[in-house]
């Protein structure tokens, strides 16, 4: 019995050796030979993006401001674009200001409400990625940072409605979700930093630094490009 088993094993081993001799030798795969290529379904380079945004400035202590705007961006490269944004808003007193102005406190903050702005900025979008949403759909998107300069026009909420044109540093971050056909949904957080001159208090303190932080959602479209 032991002799029979050894014979069978020798037969099997000799058979497997014969099969290996039929494979092709590919050699050794090294790191330098590996290149992962993301399939860029929605290229931006050389295209112009037109869009509109709606948003809100909810973080000011005494005002709350719905905003809307138009944007036009020239994408010179996949990661670089130059954008001009025109935005307008209507600042309203929030409940804190209403309470302060009431008879219990009799105090009125000299708040300035956002009215309009024009900002030219540079967009850097280093990330293009796909997002698997609950395993059901894949969304192509990019993530971008913005930095630019412009001017902001604001009005005092107090009845004098004093106005101020302020040089503005605009910083921001956002993401584009590509829908196909050049259509894009944009989500953006923008932080405009103003150097504002307020006339009413000019005798004691005239210049103020102000931040207008806005949450924006928009729709834009890339043209066909070259």
């Amino acid at each position: 019995m032991r002799r029979i088993t050894a014979t069978l094993l020798a037969t099997l081993l000799s058979a497997s050796t014969a099969m290996a001799q039929e494979t092709i030798d590919l050699g050794t795969l090294k790191d330098k030979d590996i290149k992962v290529v993301q399939k860029l379904l929605y290229p931006k380079a050389g295209r112009v993006e037109f869009g509109g945004v709606l948003g809100w400035m909810p973080f000011d202590a005494y005002t709350t401001t719905p905003v809307a705007g138009l944007t036009v961006a020239m994408h010179t490269r996949e990661s670089i674009a130059y954008e001009l944004g025109l935005m307008g808003g209507y600042a309203m007193k929030n409940s804190k200001m209403t309470t302060l102005e009431g008879p219990a406190y009799g105090v009125a903050p000299d708040a300035y409400g956002y009215t309009a702005s024009a900002i030219a900025d540079v967009q850097w979008s280093p990330i293009y990625a796909k997002l698997n949403w609950l395993g059901r759909s894949v969304h192509h998107h990019d993530v971008f940072l913005t930095g630019g300069m412009g001017v902001t026009y604001e009005r005092a909420v107090l009845p004098d409605h004093d106005t101020a044109f302020s040089p503005t540093l605009g910083l921001g971050a956002g993401a584009r979700i590509f829908l196909g056909g050049g259509k894009i949904i944009r989500i953006q957080l923008r932080d405009d930093i103003l150097r504002e001159h307020r006339e009413k208090t000019a005798e004691t303190k005239a210049w103020f630094i102000k931040q207008n932080v806005s949450l924006l959602i928009g729709f834009s479209k890339l043209n066909r490009g070259h």
């Binding site: 009431g102 008879p103 009125a108 903050p109 009845p159 910083l171 957080l189 932080d191 208090t201 004691t204």
Partner: protein
Amino acid sequence: MIPRPENTLRTSACLALGVASGLTAISCNHYEFFRVAGYEQVSFTNKAEIIFVIDSSPSMMDEAADLVANFDVFIQTLASAEGAQPATETLSDAVGNYLIYTSERGRLMDYRIGITTTSADYGPNIGFENGVEPGEAGTLVGNVLVKGEKDIIHQFRRDLACRAACWDGDLLPSDPTYTGSTGNCPLPDIGVTSEYLDCLCTDVEYPVETATWDSADLCGSGHEKHLEAALLTMCRATEEPPEICWQHTGSNFDQEDDRHSIPEFFRENTPLVIVVVTDEGDGSPMFSTKDDTAEVYLDAFAQFDRDVTVAVIGPPLDCEETTSDQGNTFDDCQLTCNTGNASKLQTERLIDAAVETNGFYNFIADPREGADPDEDCDVSSFADHLQDLGKLLINLQTAFQLQTIPDQSTIQVYVDDEPVDKSQVDDDGAFEAGWTYDPGKNAVVFWGSAIPDFNQNVRIFYRPLEGKPRDLPF
């Protein structure tokens, strides 16, 4: 110099945080704070209580006759008793016509009138009897007159002429042809006559049966105490009068018996106008002999928690008046037409009461043109005085007091959200339409056509001198 709020460090740190993080949702915005005054427009009301304090001394006979004759001017300024319906819708349309405007505004007034006399004392040598008689010690000579009552002009004339005035029948003109009868006593064209008073006072009950309008006992104390009499009336009309009513020198107020003895007079939160008609200065007991201001009585009035305005038709005190941004100042004052032998110092007390309460001080007599001002004078026009009183009631609130001392350069005034310019002094020394700041009262005062109308929203913004206006809840 206003201290700057400590915001620089906070702003820098906040900005650095924002820039460093690229984005921030932290609210770093710094705003200066202003005080707001006049928010609820509570200063405006169409209600007013009016106390006439009538000098019932013999020297006042001519003035009393003129007051009786012209009271209808006052009532007509505040609209007829029957015409009390509101006319708000027509106000803006009538601005161009001052007389109509005044009349229409007056229709909104809801007034109550009481008459007392300058006799703040009582006793055996004053009046008919020992006790307190109508008009003495702050009591009223008649009922409270309420707008809307029938024949309010007749009632006022009867209370004044038959109870509060001191007549000498021999000196009054006579008109035997007078045809009035009880209950229907028209004022003669020539003014008050003996026959008119006979008619007017027929059904008046006096403390003694034999008394008439001509009784000498109706003539009041020779010691005129105008502001004391007004104070006592206020005490009597108040349910819970302040202690000052009985705790002051020379008070004739009984804490138990006199409180709220005039229950139907005062309403809550209603301004009070005290109208003094006299040819004498004020010798009220709370004044020290050197007092030339009314401060002690104005402090007493302030304890009643209502706006009090004093209007005086009093002895002519001719002064050099200077108008400036800081208000009016009076210098080198001299009494003229001094038929009542008024004292300059006591007269200045009444002037001070009028000025300090934004009332008015009109002269009770005017020298005849070219005549000696110390001897030859006429009773001044009570029609004008009473019209001034009507305007005073209508424009009762021209001054809005601020809660804290403002930096004057930051004051901004709005009426119905429309900015009001600061008033300038014109060539005649009067204020043009606009507002001024009165540091004495710490109030913004409106002038001319800038005076806010009823129902208009007045807001005054200013930065307090102390910097941050107050502790905030947020």
